[in-house]
Symmetry: C2
Subunit: 252 residues, 2 copies
């Protein structure tokens, strides 16, 4: 597993370097259904590059990715879950706050996860048998704090709808933040910047963080308190395990 | 003015360095009215340091600051407007996304503004007779784009209330972002990361950006389309001047 983990880290860092080099490229932007749901040729290129490299090295592994049509069951075999650009709108508009996400599972068990904040050059990596780091800094497990001492990652739409009581929960904290990349927001939960992050997202958005979080005392769950299905889009919250009961008081 | 501008840049960079050195200090946190409106001993210390240095060098100038009780008329004399830590909650909780803000006026006319994103080590500076820079990078004037190609800085509360129609406006863009520092968000408007930023804020929060923005084609106004009073708390929007008419269609 050590070799595969090293391979994955290089894979993700290389993808980030590629994106930094192509930051000023003219973008071909397509809408996926709604005018705010965008994809560029670089999402596709990076997805293809990641897939080709994984397939070359591990030809019998399988891949679940944002820009692929395949939706595999995660429960069996060796499965990579990849998101070439998490936060595509930020990539297009801000040229910042986007990430490359990779997670690796064997028979449904997370082996390692990687979140690479490309512009900040911060790689969050570890999980399974590996300790969790931000670059070379070992991350400690969750440092206890109360809800009213913390910030919640939550976008304005979910707050306004008060979806599943997330708005009520946020009103019992110091407030909400929204940066437009679930992956980076999850990383900010891992470092303690955010107490929790809630989003309406797909498996490739939360797979890496769920593996990283397990090592440090965080739980990835649906807003109804279930284990995520790792299939289709769901309302997901990532929070310290010891805070789950308190959070559930506000959720419905 | 060149001397005063150089002095101000050093002042702000030194304040940022001081905050970086004291990032791990134990904080004495006080609530100012509501449990989410916080101030620390470091806000006060930095305010005092800035004030002392300005008074030593320019004894007859006057100072309007977040942590001072004085509320001066800006229209006359030499006035410094300072915010020692913009984004105090971020400073406490995230140890990131906070800024030191300084603006300087003579007889009501902005001479220069400074926004220092302390952790990113990015100093946005210029205005009046000085070109606007992010560190050593000259910032271009607003590059035209449509509302639906842009992101709006707006917190979840204002979006949910749809205050003054800000939510309606945001729904005609690619979405909202909220990082919890008006100063840094305004800087992100200046660099084109955000198309506009709206907040319910005080003069020390928007003074520096208003001066910087004038040089690059941006307007600071109230949500009712008036010039800010530079007195008390107001609903403020900072946007490209050429977009104001389009934005006003959504505001009420």
């Amino acid at each position: 597993m050590e070799d595969k983990y090293q391979f994955a880290k290089e894979l993700v860092l290389d993808a980030g370097e590629f994106l930094r080099q192509h930051l000023e490229d003219e973008l071909v932007i397509e809408e996926k259904g709604h005018f705010t749901d965008l994809v560029t040729q670089l999402d596709k290129t990076v997805q293809e590059n990641l897939t080709a490299k994984i397939m070359e090295r591990y030809p019998t592994d399988r891949i679940l990715g944002e820009e692929s049509l395949e939706h595999l069951p995660l429960g069996q075999g060796k499965v990579w879950v990849i998101d070439p650009i998490d936060g595509t709108t930020n990539f297009i508009v801000q040229k910042a706050d986007f990430a490359v996400l990779v997670a690796y599972f064997e028979d449904g068990l997370g082996q390692f996860g990687l979140i690479y904040d490309v512009i900040e050059d911060k790689l969050y990596h570890g999980g399974g048998q590996f300790p969790v780091y931000e670059n070379d800094r070992l991350l400690p497990p969750f440092q206890s704090k109360s809800l009213k001492e913390g910030l919640i990652g939550l976008n304005a739409g979910l707050y306004a709808q008060n979806y599943a009581g997330l708005g009520d929960m946020a009103d019992h904290t110091l407030g909400t933040r929204s940066i437009g990349s679930a992956g980076i927001s999850f990383a900010h939960v891992l470092t303690g910047r955010l107490l929790a992050q809630a989003s309406y997202i797909y498996p490739w958005d939360y797979a890496a963080a769920s593996i990283l979080g397990e090592k440090l005392g965080y739980t990835m769950m649906t807003t109804s308190g279930k284990k995520p299905a790792f299939y289709g889009r769901e309302y997901i919250i990532f929070a310290p395990t010891e805070k789950i009961n308190e959070i559930k008081r506000y959720l419905r």
